[in-house]
């Protein structure tokens, strides 16, 4: 799937800044530009930059899945890490058995999805905090379960699987190849999810989130849509598990420990609930903050992370994704800022803003 990105993409000239977004140039140019930028990115980054980006991709996908069930459909799930862990275990086991990688990938998506479906069929009968408690059980029971099934999971010593070394002759370093895999697979998942939440299903999710009684009266079964959202979230979780193995190449019961599930929830809210871009920012937060606090003072990581989390939410209760809106509001409030409330970002003025036009299909959908 990453091959799509490997092929050279015709880059388009920067569109004029004024008619931004209305012209077909931008409609098609911006995504192509983005793809081009993503295709080049792994080649120019340092190894540690690529590693960091790849890990961001892994957890952005996991947060995206959580967003589907929680941000968009309003069902509190504290079990998302379980599906990541399951996907990672399926991948590791499949690779160790020497199965075809494509088959492994399919299984890493399907098995978590089936597990999620089964859980959802039961849990979606409940609502509110009850569903939170049932989903909390997944990582909490998952860890001892993974230890007990040591025949498949390697017990507490875990499973290693190095299957993502760059292919011979590709001329790529391992970290570049891995990042391509993450960008390719993760990109497709983000794209599909964005379509999903913009479309018919997304509207139904939003109505279920808003008011289940209204949904019922409109002929939308809250139960069925909750199950659907949960199953999709689990499937996406499975994909993130596969990507986890692509990047980390090792999994153990600790991968799915309860604390990480909470951290995913934090990442989702910090990024911005019910937002595609927020999922990405959540992934950034999940990965970059521990590295950042380690760089400041490794013996104070917990303190610094807590403080940073509170600071961000204090300034931006809507999450990082609301930063531009908050800035715009502030500018509008001052008379001088009037008119230039949100200056159009000139595309491709810097390499960074070429990617800034990323994923035009992603707007906030059904945010209550």
């Amino acid at each position: 799937m990453a091959r799509v990105l490997d092929t050279p993409t015709p880059s388009t000239p920067p569109p004029p800044a004024r008619s931004l977004r209305q012209t077909p140039w931008v409609r098609w140019g911006a995504p192509l530009l983005l793809v081009a930028a993503l295709a080049v990115l792994p080649l120019v980054g340092t190894e540690s930059f690529n590693d960091t980006l790849a890990r961001i991709g892994v957890f952005a996908v996991a947060v995206l899945g959580l967003n589907v069930v929680m941000g968009y459909t309003g069902q509190v799930s504290l079990g998302q890490i379980f599906f990541l862990g399951l996907g990672a275990y399926v991948t590791a086991y499949g690779v160790q058995q020497g199965w075809n990688v494509v088959l492994v990938f399919v299984l890493a998506c399907l098995l978590p999805a089936v597990a999620g479906l089964l859980v959802a069929l039961a849990a979606a009968r409940l609502g509110g905090l009850a569903i939170a408690m049932v989903t909390i059980a997944l990582p909490i029971v998952g860890v001892p379960l993974a230890k007990r099934l040591s025949e498949f999971t390697g017990g507490s010593q875990g499973l290693s699987a190095r299957f993502t070394d760059a292919p011979e002759g590709s001329g790529l370093y391992d970290d570049q190849f891995q990042l391509y895999l993450v960008l390719g697979i993760g990109g497709v998942v983000f794209l599909l999810t964005a379509c999903l939440v913009r479309g018919k299903y997304g509207r139904a999710f939003a109505i279920v989130k808003d008011n289940e009684n209204v949904a019922s009266s409109m002929g939308i079964s809250p139960y069925r849509y909750k199950v659907l959202a949960f199953t999709i979230a689990s499937l996406i979780g499975g994909v993130s598990g596969f990507l986890y193995m692509v990047v980390v190449q090792y999994t153990s019961p600790e991968t799915m420990s309860f604390g990480h599930s909470i951290e995913l929830l934090v990442a989702m809210v910090i990024g911005g609930a019910g937002s595609i871009a927020g999922s990405l920012l959540g992934g950034v937060f999940y990965v970059v903050v521990p590295d950042l606090t380690n760089a400041v003072d490794p013996s104070l990581t917990s303190l610094l992370q807590g403080a940073l989390l509170l600071l961000v939410l204090f300034l931006l209760p809507g999450g990082l994704v609301s930063l531009p809106r908050a800035l715009a509001r502030r500018l509008r409030r001052s008379p001088a800022g009037r008119g230039s409330a949100a200056p159009p970002t000139p595309p491709s003025s810097t390499p960074g803003s070429a990617t800034a036009a990323e994923r035009p299909q992603t707007e906030r959908q059904g945010h209550a």
């Binding site: 408690m133 049932v134 909490i140 008011n211 909470i262 609930a273 917990s302 303190l303 807590g306 509170l310």
Partner: protein
Amino acid sequence: MEKFVQLVVDGLSTGSVYAALALAIVLVHSATGLINFAQGGLAVLAAYVAWVLTNQGLPVGLAIVAAILVSFVLGAVVERYLIRRFERGDPDTAVVVTIGLLTLVTGVAGWIWGYNNQQFPSLFPLDTVSLLGVSVSIRSLGTTAVIVVAMVLLQVLFVRTKIGLALRAVAINPQSAAFSGLPVGRLLMVGWGLAAALGAVAGTLVAPQLTLTPGMLDNALVYALAAVILGGLTSPVGVVVAAWIIGVLENLAAVYVGFIGFDLKVAVPFILIFVVLLVRPQGLFGRKTVVRV
């Protein structure tokens, strides 16, 4: 049979640890409609305060009282300057704020006192008494007694006192509570302060048993949350009974149900929650509440 009774008694004593924390969570929930993940963290902080004071030569009892007072103030301050900003907003965000607070408080404890295990002096002696052929430590009995007292006090507070009614009114609908002349802000601070004080009782009670570390109550938190949901969010009696049920059933399932064993016994409370909530969505003892829209 003797083993069975002993396992039940052991379960009750473990359940009391969960109950202590669960009571504080219920109090905050009743006062603010919020699940406070940081409750355990604040309780640990209180235990450290008491520990420092005992090291200064204060008797344990006095040190605990002082820690309770400090916690009351701390809880009120946290509500006023941190939580208040998120109370009207998205509930998910508010919960994440309490998670952030937990991380911060744990980090602060680790920063000041380190991660070494500290021995916390027990209020009750470790002696054992024999009841009906099973042995119980005075410490377990004492812990349980304190929790029962706290539970009764809370129940009375909620149901029989003006301030309890006011607290509940604020939680259910802050706006109309304000219209009817209640000092909503101050009540919320009192609610958090009381919860933190109760948490301090919990923390200092279980610290001798769990050994004082910054993450002392992390593992108990999940069980406490389970007890809170199982017992029904509104009932102090309910959560204490639920915590005991969880403690006892876990032990019995581990010993008598072969395939569960000691590794998967943690699944027991959650299966129980699931079954109970299917039948009674408001929990074992909870009242039906109006869904907030």
